[in-house]
């Protein structure tokens, strides 16, 4: 099964004073990443940097978990060894955004976990959200993804909304196949398309839901 992971952070839900305390951020950032902030990213509010890196690490973990179902999430052990920022910030976000591949002008990162290397693309939409997709493949051209704002933020509404968003997209892409989202016993989701299993990644935080998958070759 192909490896993909995504993560979404609702920026209105984060505790900024707590994020800025060493007790908090040292549980997410490695020493080298703290240095990276001061040397290259200090123009960005620190809490944005912390949660950007969290979303990259969480996405990488979700990706690796598909290959290693018993893997534990180790934020400090999942190290961002390369990070570049877009030249222009994105100020606003529509209620729904879906795409395939990423604009060249996004956050690009390289992640190292033990001996494995992963790649991620992230976007910060103004003061609304951070969205990341991670993969073992540096080419994101065939990665399909989507983000939507939902009115209700309870777990059932999030779960229903993200599945519906994903399946609507896939049904168009796979022209009417019978599709169902299932979960592996270790928790990662996949979609059955006839005889095949397609790895997907689902995410939600407060009023935002997101999905990502590698578009199946037709």
């Amino acid at each position: 099964m192909q490896c993909i992971g995504n993560d979404i952070i609702a920026l209105n839900a984060i505790d900024i004073p707590r994020t800025n305390t060493p007790r908090f951020y040292t549980k997410i950032l490695a020493e080298s990443e703290q240095q990276l902030y001061h040397s290259q990213f200090s123009a960005m509010p620190f809490h944005y940097f912390v949660w950007l890196l969290w979303s990259i690490k969480e996405s990488a973990y979700k990706c690796l978990q598909k290959q290693q179902p018993d893997l534990l999430f180790s934020p400090v052990g999942t190290v961002i060894t390369g990070l570049s920022a877009p030249s222009l910030p994105i100020l606003n976000f529509p209620e729904l955004l879906e795409g395939r591949g990423f604009d060249n002008d996004t956050f690009k990162s390289v992640i190292t976990f033990q001996s494995q290397k992963l790649y991620a693309r992230s976007v910060i939409y103004g003061d609304k959200l951070i969205y990341t997709v991670a993969s073992v493949n540096p080419d994101f051209a065939d990665v399909s993804w989507g983000i939507k704002y939902i009115e209700q933020a309870d777990p059932e509404s999030q779960s229903t909304a993200v599945r519906s968003l994903l399946l609507n997209r896939l049904q168009v892409e796979l022209s009417g196949s019978e599709l169902e989202v299932q979960k592996h016993s270790s928790g990662y989701p996949f979609v059955t398309t006839g005889q095949q299993e397609l790895a997907v990644s689902l995410s939600h935080h407060e009023n935002w839901v997101g999905y990502a998958y590698n578009s199946p070759s037709l």
Binding site: I9, A13, I14, D15, R18, R23, F24, K27, I28, W51, W54, E58, L72, F73, S74, P75, V76, G77, D154, P155, G187, H204, H205
Partner: protein, 83 residues
């Protein structure tokens, strides 16, 4: 503090982050923080810090990554308290 006492206190720490309040009433050592209590992973560090403050211990990231189920949280807290 025995494991039951730690569990009772842990329940109070988890409460503000738990989106499935009914599950919280019936938690046991097998309860999974994310799958059962629907705690968003973005709150896991908050829970670790709240536990550090509550029990006056320091939980490093090697211990933190084990805190997936209520039972493993109690293991880490009781080990740190007796360290």
């Amino acid at each position: 503090m025995n494991r039951t006492e730690i569990l009772d206190e842990l329940k109070k720490i988890l409460a503000p982050y738990t989106l499935d309040k009914e599950q919280l009433d019936g938690i046991n050592e097998d309860t999974d923080l994310i799958k059962d209590l629907k705690i968003n992973s973005a709150n896991l560090v908050d829970i670790i810090i709240d536990a550090e403050e509550k029990y006056n211990v320091e939980i490093d990231y090697d211990d933190a990554e084990k805190m997936i189920k209520v039972g493993s949280c109690i293991d880490v807290i009781s080990e740190r308290m007796s360290a």
